[in-house]
Symmetry: C2
Subunit: 205 residues, 2 copies
């Protein structure tokens, strides 16, 4: 059994504990003979696999009443992995979701680190600077890089910390954010854990 | 005496309590005979007025040791207006600064409402939605517009509230933000009050 997370540009495969990331455009589904359980946000990829009977869309197994109709499939998967806690998925966007007693409590979406920095740069050449990840978020800033880093990260980190524990961090910027959230568990395979749990449940709850 | 705030696209004039906003490109400095005290972020406008002896750049009166060298002139002016409190200037960026006993404590810069919404829209078509300004920021969201609004505004508003009082709101989105900060004083002329106080001091502190 292969687990597969299909993004707009990449295909992330998980097989016997090993992870392989490939280009979505170049990937040929015919090369895979095993059963593949997948989630996808890539419409053109979905078309390419629709005639492969060994590809199973996990969307069908989701209990949609637990979440909301426009909620991203990746967010639902990381929530499925966690019965109790706060889940931060730091990718192109930073999604923050709360699960209590296996019940979805809601969440919110912040910009990702890269998109926030681009948005600052678009405002003014003076704000086209890199974040300073060594800044003390508890202090008010007195230079431009710190003012942007504190402006973007301090409110977000404090809000996340106010939501309670345990705290899970996943996604491409998980390690970077963990500098400011030392109490968090970094788990880069959370999405696959959620997919596996959903398959094990097998039917709608 | 005329006070003038020159932005990249507009010239904001303040004269005997009346405010007039004009296009920076079309504005002809020769039409003004009175003394003009100005702050400007517009390099080409600065060139156009350099030979007018009735135009005085307030940059010269600033005690730069009180602030920091790359700090925006507009931010410094709103800080000059306030001896004690938190100043939120909600424009294309949202700047937040703290003054205590007329001493600058530092601050931070968040994205403005429009730039944040554009940045979300750039991430994904699914996130190209308007903020919901009637949302309850204390609750986790269960739909996309609320998830973005809570994601952008809840951390920021809570951070601002944690900085103490009194709280002043200025800039184009001041009224909009005041829905979430009912304890704040909205003062759309704060920049001109700062300019006036600086002129009254007349010399570097």
């Amino acid at each position: 059994m292969i687990l597969c997370d299909v993004g707009n540009t990449s295909v992330d495969l998980f097989y016997v504990g090993k992870r392989t990331k490939l280009s979505a455009e170049d990937f040929d589904p015919a090369t895979v003979q095993d059963s593949v359980y997948y989630v996808s946000v890539n419409a053109s990829f979905n078309e390419r696999i629709q005639n492969y009977t060994n590809w199973y869309d996990l969307r069908q197994l989701i209990d949609w009443e637990k979440y909301y109709p426009t909620m991203g499939i990746d967010r639902i998967m990381v929530c499925e992995a966690v019965e109790e806690g706060v889940i931060v998925d730091a990718g192109s966007a930073i999604t923050v979701d709360v699960m209590r007693g296996d019940v979805y409590q809601g969440g919110f979406i912040s910009l990702g680190l890269r998109s926030a920095q681009s948005a600052y740069a678009n405002l003014s050449g003076a704000l086209d600077v890199s974040f300073n990840f060594e800044v003390d978020l508890a202090k008010m800033a007195k230079n431009t890089p710190d003012a942007l880093t504190v402006g973007f990260l301090a409110p977000l980190i404090e809000k996340i910390q106010s939501l309670g524990k345990p705290l899970y961090l996943t996604g491409g910027d998980a390690v970077l954010l963990s500098c400011f959230l030392p109490e968090a568990t970094v788990d880069e395979e959370l999405i696959f854990k959620g997919m596996k749990k959903l398959i094990e449940k097998g039917v709608k709850c």
